[in-house]
Symmetry: D2
Subunit: 343 residues, 4 copies
């Protein structure tokens, strides 16, 4: 990072793309991340960028290139559409900037490899935004595995269901459910099990909206992953959940099990002659995961400022893409597919 | 106990009174208590006694005196109406039999003292049936106190609510809510806190059924107990609870808190757009407390056979009576009443 | 059923095999089932049979044939070793007796078909002992599906883990984990989803005890079932669980989800500076499932006495066997196997 | 409010006192409250005020008078030490400003009455900062009462325990535990029960730190409140709780009960051979109650902008002071004290 940042011990972050996720990152870095500031933003939609820049009194750059090149920017946060990630990542790497890139790196493995090669050549820090690793509940499951509390790990189970499907226009460019949605769970499986996945068996179908099927995608999937160390992970996903954003992880080992349960909107409940009733699961992903995004930024900033490896590396970004490609092939051919077949 | 029992290492129990609670004891001893058998029953209602005796193929005695005197009986379980307890207890003591007496010993302190004197003179084991001490959840709270897990105890909170009030005919002979219902919680307070109660402040009122008020009783009470060691216990009671038999205990100390929560009829639940829903609390006291009755019998039998003190002594039966008398006086005069004032 | 039973409206049950499960059935029918009595028992191990017969004061028959033929027996409960089930079932059917048969009917599909043919020819009631359907929590999940509370069902998830593996001598004759242990979950999947399974993908491995692997079996399995109606069920099984008998079911549909959670040994818990702590999951299958066995008997007795279909039919006994055979094939060939391939 | 604010439909808030609670209010209004902005701050500790003013780029006034008089300020938030509240409140009222005043209004009833008289004379909106009413869980309990879900209310139970006691220097000026800490629970009792309190019985003692006793205060109290409508509320307070900030409310009525349970730091948990373990209760009051402060601001702003009554009125600020005075008298004289005796 630049001398200026070193002098101040604060990381100056330039944010590329300030749509829903990008503007959230801007707000978090500006208001809740101790060691970092937003120093500028860019978006192809200039009005959106202007509003965000105005709200936080930061520079609105006229192009991604200008932001990347600016000596006010120590780290570039890439929050643009997926198909632009690698070009921006390569540009940022070549300028020597630390990089925070939203998931997925790309839908194209060769593109990912081009990006990772540029990062490696430049020797810059790269973090891929798998924020769920930083959720305190999910992390406690992984820690129970890593610290030996569960003994030898045997089975992992991940449930992830969105409150409602995105618009078809988004589905069309999403890369499909495995690369858009399940990719978080693929990452979680590697994170919790601490072992690479070697084989994928997936079932995908349409149970929410036929328009998703017509777009060539699935809205509901069940996946079995076999890890190198013999552990088996199951994943249940759905694009629609009536009771809110269902986010759970469990791990089972020779000495016990660990669970990360859903949150509730509040912890009030009643008991009447009709039984017990309690609150909904939070409906919006930010209500559940904002603290994980803050934790992620804090860890990223500490790693970059401290010259340590980033918490989620480029290889952590690459592996789930392979798993997604294998899952697509598995559904198409209704058979288990080895990772080696797709990568 | 008799030589015969010593030889067989099994305790032969004669049960006096086989109404609801007495016939439950017969069933439990016959079917679920390892070291004891029912050897005979008696009830002033001969048909009821005959049905129970027939069901378990045991002797139906023609009088309480015969049962008490029988050399088939090592221990006498007194499950008759409260006003007969002390006479039977004295008779059993004088015959040298071990005694299991349902709560309360009596509504009359001088009667209790007469009974305890007889027990002491005879040197026989006496156990008073405060079964809730043997509930695994409640016991875990007391153990957390006794084992020091909670540090120095500060506050105890007990909630006990019945699904529905008994008939007015029962209210009329019950001795009032404090001696009939709260007496269990008075015992629980002493058990959990491990310290005698020195002062009682109680509020009692009618919120369930005016007929209970017309009978000179309350159906809802809130009580504060001050223990000798400075701990303060609160008790909430009500004769009616729409959601089932509400039975909870909590204890708070310098190092933490312990809770005994309600059970549920089952552990199924749903989550829908309307929120979470779960099952009722069991509605019937036996659904919650049957295991506590079995544990109580096992501990009583082990104590008698092993020549050890019974788990709930005569003094444990006397103390809650004093607390109930103090509570009645406290409500009547709306002031805290020292136990020393009533005993 | 016989005229005698009709006259008395009580079902007289003869129990074949009084090992662990058979003697439990005897105790339940004798003590806790309202409309039935045990009228006799038989076991090839005569001393065991004598002890049980003595405990309940019922006839000990000298042979299975005598018990089946006896006019004291309205219904035959077959609780012997699996390889003897079908011969006894055929004999009981030919004698016109109602039949309660423990699971699995047989490890051999042709044997099952021989048995079902005999039952059909005789027109006698047959119930297969999948007791978990009668667990109140699991049943609440199935009811939430059947009553439409969950909308259109999409995914089912079943977790079943034993506290500890059986001895290798049992493993050797068990038919393998899928036919011995998972068979309960195969039944649960059909019960909850209300739809036949058409394809099975299974992974099986050894993570508990290599001796189980040496015996040609697995001790840990993960299974994906595809139902005729498109629903997908996942099953996680393990022969060893450090925290007790892990028994959970969940179902997810368009309108919500339903869960049957584990029980706890009690509902006491503590909160200290180290966090919260709570009790274990019950360690023994009877601690969890006794009420389900009682419910099963009550429903079976009501069906037989009332001339209604039994709650779990012969076809319900046959289908999970096919699923187990498909699962074995799936693991061996590491591919999804259609039920049509094995049956 | 001023014309300017009316024109912009945003409320401009000036904050008096920017210590721990005041600077929190500044941050919340600046970052998380939709319809309001901070327009200036004042603190007798100028450096503290400067830091806060700088952080949010707002005016630092040289005196409370200047802030109150400023035409940039529509509403005055009084977050100074308790003994200064009424003078500032009167000054703000006389200037026609809307007022948000932290609890307690004053420790002196005549002072409170002087303040409320000034507010009434000026006709300005006044809100007293009892934020816990705006906690979603606690509110759900009150709503269950208010909406009739619980039928006729009978008993309320409030538990409130701080993680650790404040310094003795704070204790010395706090007005004592009843006016400093229990005052929140006094407010909660009125809020949940929807009925004034007419009598108080309180016990107070020292179990945490003798220095608190030496300062003439208690660190642990148990209180019984009798409401005008016959409902009885119990309150358990302690200045120290090993497991975090214990904040619970429950209400019991003829048709059921409602509970507001503690939160957890996260919802991960484990099950091992040692039982279950789970996370701590949040240790810091802001971790639990930040959303309640945000809700409170939103409701206050909406009320002022919309010309509606504030959610917590001056009388809502006065009543708990009376309850605290009665509680002090009750402990001193060990008897129930009618509110009429102290007000």
């Amino acid at each position: 990072m630049s001398d200026t940042a070193s002098q101040s011990d604060r990381l100056r972050v330039g944010v590329l793309g300030v749509g829903r996720i990008g503007s959230m990152h801007v707000d978090l870095v500006a208001n809740q991340v101790e060691g970092a500031d937003v120093s500028g933003v860019f978006d192809v939609y200039a009005d959106g960028a202007a509003a965000v820049a105005d709200r936080h009194d930061v520079t609105r750059f006229d192009s991604a290139e200008q932001l990347i090149a600016s000596d006010q920017v120590d780290a570039v946060a890439i929050c643009t559409s997926t198909d632009t990630h690698i070009d921006l990542l390569v540009a940022a790497a070549e300028t020597g900037k630390a990089i925070f890139c939203e998931k997925p790196l790309s839908l194209d493995l060769s593109e990912v490899d081009r990006g990772l090669a540029a990062v490696e050549a430049a020797g810059v820090p790269l973090h891929v935004g798998f924020n769920r690793r930083f959720d305190a509940g999910h992390r406690s499951v992984r820690d129970a595995v890593a610290n030996g509390v569960l003994g030898d790990l045997r089975q992992v189970s991940i449930t992830s269901r969105d409150p409602a499907p995105p618009p078809i226009s988004y589905i069309n460019v999403s890369g499909g459910i495995f690369l858009d949605m399940t990719i978080h769970d693929f990452d979680m499986a590697r994170y919790v099990a601490g072992s690479e996945v070697v084989e994928v068996y997936a079932r995908g179908w349409v149970s929410v909206d036929q328009a998703i099927g017509d777009a060539g995608d699935y809205d509901t999937v069940t996946v079995i992953l076999t890890h190198e160390n013999g552990v088996v992970t199951t994943i249940d996903n759905c694009r629609q959940s009536a009771y809110g954003y269902d986010q759970r992880v469990e791990a089972f080992g020779s000495a016990g099990a660990a669970f990360s349960d859903n949150h509730r909107e509040h912890y009030g409940r009643t008991l009447t002659a009709a039984g017990g009733s309690s609150a909904l699961v939070p409906n919006f992903f930010l209500d559940r995961y904002i603290p994980s995004y803050v934790n992620q930024w804090n860890d990223f900033v500490a790693a970059v400022v401290g010259g340590q490896p980033t918490p989620v590396t480029g290889l952590d970004g690459r592996a789930p893409l392979l798993m997604g490609l294998a899952a697509n092939k598995s559904v198409a051919e209704n058979r288990p597919v080895a990772i080696a077949e797709v990568g």
